[in-house]
Symmetry: C2
Subunit: 651 residues, 2 copies
């Protein structure tokens, strides 16, 4: 086009390459964004000397932050909440320990020491610490593969402590090395499906005590359990079954009531303990233990014995313990942190995920030294804590004291507690975990998330807890990879009476610009999608040329690629752009880039691409690019000898 | 703000929800984009009846497409190219078979049948089929772990056929099920590092024959080889070493010459065969085989014997064969398809990756029935083919005929060929695979890609071929996951004298808009980055408020999130946006969304989010959003009782 005097466009601005950054600085920036996105050291920067030390202690032990402001008003609320959750923790603790094939007393031990540690180190004000059903089941089933809990209960117990130790170590290490984001790879959909499946499996397991069966399958999947139940119809004990269903009904009705009337939260919170007391009295007076109703039996009085020397560090047991520890540790973290975060969201305070991991990890390490097994922040107990009006983590201390008193004085009272009541407590808690509404929500919003959720559910129910987890995580990661491998691309059209260009699928009133194909690439360009994008862009050009042939419009001359959404790019992506340029040129088309971002510009600048004529064919907005192309099209009509290599961007 | 008469803005357009699509149609669309992005059935749609059948046959056997247009001119070119590559294929075939611990004759067999199959089914015009060094080495080393090739050569041979069969089956299945994109997950950086490492290892292995050593380590890593070489200094044979280095020098100098003078491509192409002839004559006349120069020895005359009945389908061998088959199959595919694509790019024709996979897979399946082992399209041979001016896949047929004649009549001539010449041929070919320039390019453009490349290289050289591959693929996938987990976010500023808003890091002259924080999210929002983004956005708000406090500007009132680059979203992402809205509201800030794409709008629409007041706070461009906020800010100054829930978007 030479030195033509063009009217269009005014006030154009060049696409800039971001100012170069020293290599170390950019590495530092990436590391910070990867590992310290929440900038936890912000407070420290403003202070110096011993003030920093105080902040450091407060960082790892938030109790020193809130204790000085603790008031009598807070105490009153925390005592009420603490006693309420203790009344839930005692029966649940005993029940869940049985899920893990461990002695019932371990459930009480685990509600004594870990809450004290968490109260000092945790940053959530609402989390109520204790054992969880899914974690207990998972740990029990994984360890049972190595050691039979009935044949060798002592080794099994020691293995459980060891697994808890490694779970804690792994959790604390994740937190210390700021790798908390690993937990983010368990998507919400995965967790909903996994938890629902685990809850179903746990409920099925309860059929053993509810039906009063002596022999039962060791597998947890639906098929084995159903076969086991229906091949023993003649062994069913109606006394046990009636008792069981009555208690389940009682627990569900109280929960329903408390849900409708949140003021009476304590009704559902107290119901499990009430069931235990009622059940025990019933057995004691009717001597039902002699008529097929199994009871807990002797519970040892006294506080947690030390278990540091019980940890097993010899193979092959250690490998099993490490594997189990890592898996249950991550599941426990996912639950604890999700629960902590959602309550923090309600009360508008902030939770540092990595700090929480250190707290939960430490609590499990110390727990493994003091005869406790895996603990985290279960949803049901934390919800009760929240509804009971807890103000600080002190409610955990109150619960811990209540459990301590129980351990010291009240354990004999549980002698006559029927197992079927514990099963009823488990079933009613588990039914709350089957979140079918969340599954419906997933179906409505995102079908693929629903598939992930259902795969996890089916994997757990028909396979095993581990299979379900592996399937769900694999599908989730596959989904990310598929997302990355198949990004969306769109043709943009002009929205009438404006200079705005938008996706024609979303804005059906947008119009094609004659002679110009405007494409938008809606994702970062990596090696995993570079070939796909090259093929797809070629196909868009083919399709556009077919359409033009059919309608008889101006023939295609320009391809504009809107790069606004390309947030990142790698070397394969850069090659892809170079190839697209070559493909376009070979078809006699001119390629223009719009608004390449800073990463793209940095790398284009370092490759040979930008040193070519391309700077002329880069525009800041689609509007400018279309303007330049249109101007060129018009100029060519009057002067057919066009010089394609010359762009319109004034320097 | 009630019913105020506002002047701003004119001609605003609502953000639209894309027209709803039937569930099945959208599933069909996704499946098509995932598995048929290049729309291979396009041609078929226009035709009917037997024409479709013809197209179908032509689709799977492209020879029926090009054969009818075949001319004498083409034949002349293809004969020259075919003879040239045959002269390369014969010595290379024999050499590479030794790398795989297989009898040398197998290299010739593998250059006879597979090229015929590829000529019928392949869509590349430039690919010259044959065995490859890296694939041979990988297969040899993986199978050696199961069976010792010296102790049980027959079983080893049968295992090699079986592995080739499974490699072919896997390759063809990938193509048939349109899963070709799996190969894309081997990034360019991975392949550069892996190939370089494998080439280094192969060169090291050649020290055995070059130095004329009888005993040599079975490990392939640098440390073992160096120890093996330097503990046997007294066994080095100078005759062999001198011969070896002379031939390497000769081969390298011819390659250098041909590179400088592309017209004399045949000089480097003929050099290996010349070396073989020279070497054999030398040995024959000097009886060097009696002075420590090892020779090939007897080669059986005759064509490929059938090997269908030799395939081993019994465990444990079958498992090894399947594993080996899958790994070498994918590596062979990656090389073959990359080579095919790059030459297609030069000559401007299109290659369908999935179709190529079917062709390469079939060629290996048939090969495994006819005493051939793993074949694909090696780079060096295809480059010679291209330079020799091949026109169609017929050059493969010519090569095949030449190899057939060799098998029938010329094998006795190789009796005196010294092994050291074969090693020299391998070394000179491998040195070309160590692409240090590509590594430097990676370092310049993308440091992380360089790290991936180096990890693959170091893994292969110091560990093993498999370790290197696993490390490189793991790092590549970890990189994608990290990319996804830590997307970029930017603060946008107003570019002076325009209504354009761009990233302030890239455009340092852009200005903050008082009272408004404009954020751009540069990636799809998934479960893996939703928490990070929530934390990061909160931190941007904190930092902006700190900045405002320091400068004393108008206090922050609006947060505008530019969603243009959010190409996709899942349920976790939708929850994240809802949470950010809540966080903003709790701080007294109003959140506005700009240009949410079709996926985002679809899902926001289905969730409760959009049913709230949010439609009012969605704008099509940042300009409009800023305009509305500014208008609101000004209105609030004159009338402090503002009603935050009221937006400015006219319906």
């Amino acid at each position: 086009m030479g030195n033509i005097d063009y009217e269009y466009p005014l006030g154009m601005q060049n696409v800039l390459v971001p100012p170069p950054q020293p290599f170390l600085k950019s590495i530092k920036y990436s590391l910070k964004e990867t590992f310290f996105p929440d900038d936890p050291l912000r407070k420290f920067k403003k202070e110096r000397g011993w003030k920093r030390l105080v902040l450091g202690v407060q960082y790892f032990f938030p109790i020193f932050e809130w204790a000085p402001q603790y008031t009598f008003q807070f105490l009153k609320s925390d005592v009420i909440a603490g006693i309420t959750i203790a009344s839930l923790a005692i029966p649940q603790g005993i029940s869940y320990a049985k899920l893990a094939n461990l002695p019932p007393i371990l459930g009480l031990y685990s509600s004594f020491i870990p809450p004290l540690i968490y109260a000092m180190m945790g940053s959530s004000r609402d989390l109520a610490v204790g054992t969880v059903a899914v974690g207990s089941l998972l740990m029990g089933s994984m360890l049972s593969n190595e050691v039979n809990p009935n044949e060798n209960p002592k080794l099994f117990l020691h293995l459980a402590f060891t697994a808890t130790f490694f779970a804690g170590l792994f959790q604390a290490a994740l937190g210390l090395f700021r790798l908390g984001f690993i937990v983010d790879f368990l998507s919400h959909a995965t967790i909903v499906g996994f938890m629902g499946g685990a809850a179903t499996v746990v409920c099925l397991q309860q059929l053993k005590s509810i039906l009063g069966l002596d022999h039962f399958t060791h597998s947890a999947d639906l098929v084995s359990v159903m076969r086991s139940v229906f091949t023993q119809i003649h062994q069913w004990r109606w006394e046990s079954a009636v008792l069981g269903f009555c208690f389940i009904f009682f627990l569900l009705i109280t929960r329903y009531f408390s849900k409708k009337q949140p003021k009476f939260f304590w009704v559902s919170a107290m119901a499990p303990l009430t069931s235990v007391i009622l059940g025990s009295l019933l057995v004691y007076f009717t001597h039902a233990e002699k008529h097929g109703v199994q009871v807990i039996g002797e519970l040892k009085k006294g506080l947690n014995p030390p278990s540091l020397t019980n940890l097993v560090f010899v193979s092959p047991y250690m490998t099993t313990a490490i594997k189990t520890g890592i898996i249950v540790g991550i599941i426990a973290l996912a639950e604890g942190i999700a629960v902590g975060r959602s309550f923090a969201m309600f009360k508008n305070y902030h939770i540092d995920g990595n700090k929480e991991m250190i707290a939960i990890g430490t609590m499990n390490i110390v727990g493994s030294f003091t005869s406790c097994y895996l603990t985290t922040g279960p949803f049901s107990r934390s919800a009760v804590n929240y509804n009971a009006g807890c103000k600080t983590a002190a409610s955990n201390i109150i619960m811990s004291i209540a459990v301590m008193l129980t351990l010291l004085f009240l354990t004999p009272l549980f002698h006559y507690t029927p197992l079927v009541v514990l099963s009823a407590i488990i079933v009613s808690a588990m039914l709350g975990l089957i979140d079918y509404q969340a599954a419906i929500h997933l179906w409505k919003i995102d079908k693929f998330d629903f598939v992930v959720c259902m795969s996890a559910y089916i994997g757990v129910v028909f396979g095993s807890v581990t299979i379900g987890l592996v399937i769900a995580v694999a599908i989730s990661i596959l989904r990310i990879l598929l997302f990355v491998a198949r990004p969306r691309t769109f043709v943009l059209g002009n929205i009438p009476n404006s200079v705005i260009y938008r996706n024609m699928e979303q804005y059906p009133n947008a119009n094609h610009v004659p002679g110009i194909l405007i494409l938008e690439i809606d994702a970062p360009i990596y090696f995993a999608n570079a070939s796909y994008l090259r093929e797809r862009i070629t196909r868009w050009i083919d399709e556009e040329e077919d359409r033009i042939k059919a309608t008889g419009e101006t023939s295609l001359q320009y391809v504009i690629m809107d790069m606004s959404a390309v947030g990142n790019i790698d070397t394969s992506g850069i090659s892809m752009i170079e190839e697209v340029k070559k493909i376009a040129e070979r078809r006699g088309l001119q390629l223009a880039l719009v608004n390449p971002g800073s990463e793209v510009m940095k790398k284009l600048n370092k490759s040979k691409f930008k040193n070519d004529i391309e700077q002329k064919w880069m525009y800041l907005t689609v509007e400018e690019a279309v303007g330049a192309c249109n101007f060129n099209l018009r100029a060519c009509k009057t002067n057919p000898k066009k010089d394609e290599s010359d762009g319109w961007n004034n320097v």
